[in-house]
Amino acid sequence: MTEAHTEPKSLPIAAREPQCPYQPAAELRALQKEAELPRVKVPSPLLGEFDAVAITRYEDVKDALGDSRLQMGFEFDPDKPRTMLNQPGNLLNYNGEGHSRLRRMLTGFFTIKRIRALRPMIEQVVADRLDEVEAAGQGADLVRLFSTPIPTQVICELLGVPYADRADFQRRAKVGLDVNTTLEVQVQNLKDMDEYMSGLVAAHRRSPGENMLGQVVRDFGHELDDDELTGIGNMLLIAGHETTASMLSASAALLLQNPEQLAVVRDEPEAVDRAIEELLRYVCPATIMPREAAEDFAVRDQEIRKGERVVFSILAANRDERDDVEGDPDTLDVRRPQRPHVTFGHGAHQCLGQQLARMELRVALPALFQRFPTLTLAVPDDEVDYRTTALVFGVNALPVTW
């Protein structure tokens, strides 16, 4: 990657190699090797820079995220400014019973059966986007014409959000995930998001639609206030398109740089599921997860005290050298036997939308390479414009020719 513009400060715990954004930075690898759990500084527009225990090894991540003594650390406080961390309805702000109560209202929409039934809808969305790429002609930008619209249109359809409103909510989602912003910007941004979503919620209150928002109003509307419904809607809208879009862009970029692996995804339908799992492990668009210790506890016999913040590196954990798994974790190998990853997190908050995201990836990537068998990047590999400083790793533009 070229550093043409001045880089804003990146999260050291999420840092990627300047020369290759798919590799964890040397500092992050060094943290992982330390016998003692390191303490790091994490920048955050919402909390200010905070100190946290860094958890970077795969086994430690799984152990600690499975432990109920680690909590989200955000309770809704109506007297504090509204931010994404101070918003009812967002599952990431709840613990224990309160969390499972809300999550259970939504899990029915994401069962394996439900997601499999969505396949034809997703195939249609993908086919339409590929027509647009073709119409745009040589030099078409896959980020704008393929990776972003696919998950956006899918989540709009599922949730019941008008796709025509996308320019505004996509921009707000980007701001929400940008760590290089001020608290004021974040507060205003959430206000705009809430205003938009509460309008949709009010419409579903009057006449519940056939999609997710309408169904939640119909089934649980008596238990949920408008604030909670708005938070649920915003959470699904943001979580549902930004990460998946990044995954599509970064996977396409990676495969275009590895043609023999691209051929596997294009030509071997039975190899696709495994290939997508490897791409998820390797790309990991969401790079860190924050928590707080609600009680004292220990990781590898090392004490973490009540009240300490903890931050997990998905990027480092997915590249952990482990005795029990063969192969070099830093090589992309779409044919490798399963190498477990924590790209969707672990424990009670493990991604609610992961089966949907998998389905979108499984449909979209092979279809892209089948439609354009001669697809190549229109810029040299090292000039692809990656986004490495936001909470979600991604690609800003991906021009291609065929």
Binding site: T107, G108, T111, Q350
Partner: protein
């Protein structure tokens, strides 16, 4: 092998249904795991172990019978 599930822990991620569809299903309304077979046959053991290992909520308990008598 005996399988037990702790429903209250389940977060509906569906890994078990993918790994061992003969042994696990999900309730339609809230995605919570349904145990189809509490004593799966030998050829399902590997899949069932994988399901338990993938479950993010540790909601699947396996009681492996000792092989020696």
């Amino acid at each position: 092998m005996k399988v037990e599930i702790e429903e209250f822990k389940c977060v509906g991620a569906g890994h078990c249904v993918v790994a061992a569809p003969e042994v696990f299903d999900q309730r339609d309304d809230d995605g919570v795991v349904i145990l189809l077979d509490a004593d799966p046959p030998e050829h399902e053991h590997e899949n069932t172990r994988e399901a338990a290992q993938l479950c993010p909520a540790a909601a699947i308990l396996l009681l492996e019978k000792a092989t020696s008598t």
